[in-house]
Subunit: 265 residues, 2 copies
DNA sequence: AATGCCACGTGAGAAG
DNA sequence: CTTCTCACGTGGCATT
């Protein structure tokens, strides 16, 4: 982990440079490269000449996101290796995946009777919001269901969290940071979280990640990092169109079962 | 945006294939490629021959993580475009960044002190729900805004109402619906809605799905997603984002600002 | 010297 | 047709 190649031959800084040239690259192909507005006649040759430029721009977009990812991840987890702006691409991605997986919370559920005090009010407030949203009809059913579902999960987490605080004076502590760990996330709401048979829904033949059914969720920390890799090539499927409508939680309301707490009857 | 190139000429599947050959590629350079344990004499030539293989392996690792990212993100946000296993790399990354940023800004609901007791909890709960909804991005911006707005009004009313109640045993009464005013009825909200606005930021002329650029209101962190990027823009970018509605009612602080959620203590 | 990572340019396809 | 994305192979450079 040192520093490597900060500057390159001509254009300057290579590695993960956020937008290398960005603005009107001075050197290459004046009238082409982006501003093909007027007086540019794609004369065969210059088309080929600006191909690399375009390609580079694409690469830069990717690298830019990668850079963003790095810094975000650096904030999130104080990973030493991410401090260095030259972190390896593969590492950044791997850690991002890892982090996202970690965001999935076990959410052991429980939630029974209502409580009083702050906690009770909190839950009640969430309750209200949820049922309100649930009854709103300006949103298509599917999305509504999804959002409500997610909201319930979130609600569940929050309620749990608040349960650990003393009911009254949380006021000063609860608020900052950390209240909403991850808005979305939590996977496949479909049911309790454990998948049924491997085939059933997914229908997506090749790489069907979802590492290990029961292991990856619940366990906050890594399960597999990369040893799994079984998927082995896809290619066999000649289907056009991903199709597989059923990828998602059934969506037919009433899906989520045991683990997800629901505010409505 | 459909599908593109699922299988390639010979070796099979190109795009985003998870480890194409992985172990001991049968076709190329028998003894090299990974198992350079014994009886391998790097004879100059085969070194160069296996360079591409190694490089490919590296590429595959990256692509694999990208695939993981896609599926994770797909679970998290029901982004239509991510269902397609051929989602563009740049898009996946961009959306990942966007998502992570959202995770970080839980919108602490209230910069100031929270109220205690049932009322405080109630308001806090509604706040949380609202900000959660606000950050969900599987709903088109307009509808989201609308719903959030309604939710805020509702929140306000409810909070008021609870002020008049005694703090504790409301629990049994408040509960299910009945509290909610009739769910909105649409009014504004452009007709079909549901998908994002036609053209977003992106400077990228052709297919640029991806919902709203930075959309999420509040967003303490994130400065630029890529709006600053205009690498000499193809078309003028003309449009300007949704601009922050400032949906949140006076009451609930609407502060957040500098508060960024951080997972560490 | 050897390994690994990266940016580059290019041909191939696909989408519009 | 064009326009864009991709995988590929390669040279360059850093690190061990």
């Amino acid at each position: 982990m040192g520093i490597r190649r900060q500057i390159a031959e001509d254009s300057g800084h290579k590695r993960l440079s956020p937008h290398t040239e960005q603005m009107h690259s001075p050197g290459i192909c004046p009238q082409a490269a982006g501003c093909r507005m007027r007086n540019s006649y794609p004369n065969r040759e210059d088309k080929r000449l600006m191909k690399p430029v375009i390609e580079k721009r694409r690469r830069d977009r990717i690298n830019q996101s990668l850079e963003h990812l790095r810094t975000l991840l650096l904030e999130a987890t104080h990973d030493e290796t991410l401090k260095n702006p030259k972190a390896e691409k593969a590492d950044i991605l791997k850690k991002t995946v890892h982090f996202l997986k970690m965001c999935h919370n076990p959410v052991p559920s429980d939630g029974k009777k209502l409580l009083s005090g702050f906690k009770g009010g909190f839950r009640e407030g969430l309750n209200q919001a949820t049922s309100f949203l649930n009854s709103a009809d300006s949103i298509c059913q599917k999305k509504k269901e999804y959002v409500v579902q997610r909201l319930c999960q979130h609600m569940e987490q929050q309620t749990q969290k608040h349960c650990h605080d003393s009911a009254q004076d949380v006021s000063s502590r609860v608020n900052q940071r950390q209240i909403l760990p991850s808005p979305p996330l939590i996977s496949r709401v479909t049911g309790n979280g454990l998948e049924q048979s491997p085939e059933t829904q997914t229908s997506r033949p090749p790489h069907s990640h979802h590492p290990s059914p029961s292991s990856s969720f619940r366990t906050p920390c890594m399960g597999q990092e990369q040893q799994q890799t079984p998927p082995q090539t896809f290619q066999a499927n000649t289907n056009k169109k991903p199709t597989q409508r059923t990828l998602f939680p059934p969506t037919s309301s009433s899906v989520n079962s045991a683990l997800v707490w629901r505010p409505w009857p």
